[in-house]
Amino acid sequence: MTLWWIGDVLLLAVVLPVVVYLLKGVLDAARGIVPSVRRIAAAARAGSNDLDAVPLLLTTQAHVKTTVEVVAGYGGSLDVIVDDAEEE
């Protein structure tokens, strides 16, 4: 009978607190991850929204091409009307 009582005391005084401590640690860690994940999701959404201007790069690409063509035409005209530098 004494052993039964010793076992009861061990369960209530040792096993139960250890189990509760460990489970509470897991729960706290899991709850700590939640806000971090939410911030990551918000950052991903914001990053996606920032990239909405990426299609404008196609316009920039076309403008750069046109500009370089104009510069090439202008340079070609200058090449015709302006003499080359004299050789030293």
Partner: protein
């Protein structure tokens, strides 16, 4: 059941309850994490999708810009020479010469010449082209050199214009008719300008008639009220025309009225026949009529 057994059962029950509570709470937290990760993964997926073409586009833009830089560098070096190009770059962007030209590694070692030397050469180039060199009169860093618009306007003034705009205000031809800026009642004029007082004094009382009009309005002249005019009078001033109200000639050279005073019918007018041509005498042989002979007889008291 002994008391120790009851206590054991209670202890085990407490442990199970603790396990249930914390494990359920952990499951809820893990589900929230899963949901947040799903959102994050979706956002990252959009980022990957949207940024996929960026590399190709940016590479193409860089390739075009590289071609432009190569073109401009090559043109500058070809036209101004490598040394003067470095001087020109240094003059426009102080300190930029140290970086040199990308396609000309030797340019980094060149000591940039004074910018005035470069502009002197440019001036000669422009002078050969027959254009005004828009260089600064005082300093190469002066405002004239950078004033592209001003330099362009000055150079533009050297070229002929399709529509002459200088001088800005040339004398304009007089406007006549219904569109004339000054309208005169028809009774005041019947051709020519309205004589003023000095002209009336010079020409005499008859000129006053022209000033007052052939038929004054109160006697039924052209500009009389409609009820005073005849019923069949339907012609208005747009049909009759109007004078300019000014004595200035309508054409640039005008009309020289003295030419008529000096005209000679025997020498002026008519065709100029060749020197050897026979005179046209077909009308000279006509016999004068008796009436004409009688009127030409001096004894008959003619006024010949």
């Amino acid at each position: 059941m002994p008391a120790a057994g009851v206590v054991l059962i209670i202890a085990v029950l407490l442990i199970v309850l603790a396990l249930v509570y914390y494990l359920l709470s952990t499951i809820v937290a893990l589900r929230q994490i899963t949901s947040g990760l799903d959102e994050a993964i979706a956002g990252v997926g959009e980022i990957i999708e949207k940024s996929a073409p960026v590399e190709d586009v940016v590479k193409d833009i860089n390739a075009n810009l590289d071609a432009g830089v190569d073109l401009l560098e090559g043109l500058l070096v070809k036209k101004a020479g490598l040394t003067d190009s470095i001087g020109l770059i240094e003059g426009l962007y102080p300190g930029a010469a140290a970086e040199g030209l990308r396609n000309f590694p030797d340019s980094k070692t060149i000591k940039p010449p004074r910018i005035s030397e470069v502009y002197t050469k440019g001036t000669l180039t422009l002078a050969r082209l027959g254009r005004e060199a828009p260089i600064a009169a005082t300093s190469p860093k002066g405002p004239v050199l950078r004033n592209v618009e001003g330099g362009s306007l000055e150079a533009r003034s050297l070229y002929p214009e399709t529509r002459q705009a200088r001088p800005e205000k040339l004398p304009r031809s007089p406007v006549i008719g219904t569109g004339a800026p000054v309208q005169y009642p028809p009774s005041e004029q019947r051709g020519g300008a309205t004589p003023d007082e000095a002209e009336i004094r010079e020409k005499g009382p008859w000129a006053e008639t022209a000033a007052e009009g052939i038929v004054p309005a109160e006697l039924g002249g052209s500009d009389a009220p409609r009820e005073m005019l005849a019923e069949d009078r339907e012609l208005g001033s747009p049909v009759l025309g109007e004078s300019t109200g000014s004595g200035e000639p309508a054409t640039e050279s005008g009309i020289d009225p003295s030419a008529g005073d000096e005209a000679d019918a025997t020498s002026d007018g008519g065709p100029e026949p060749p020197e050897e041509a026979e005179p046209d005498l077909k009308d000279a042989a006509a016999v004068p009529r008796q009436v004409d002979r009688d009127s030409a007889d001096p004894e008959d008291g003619s006024d010949r």
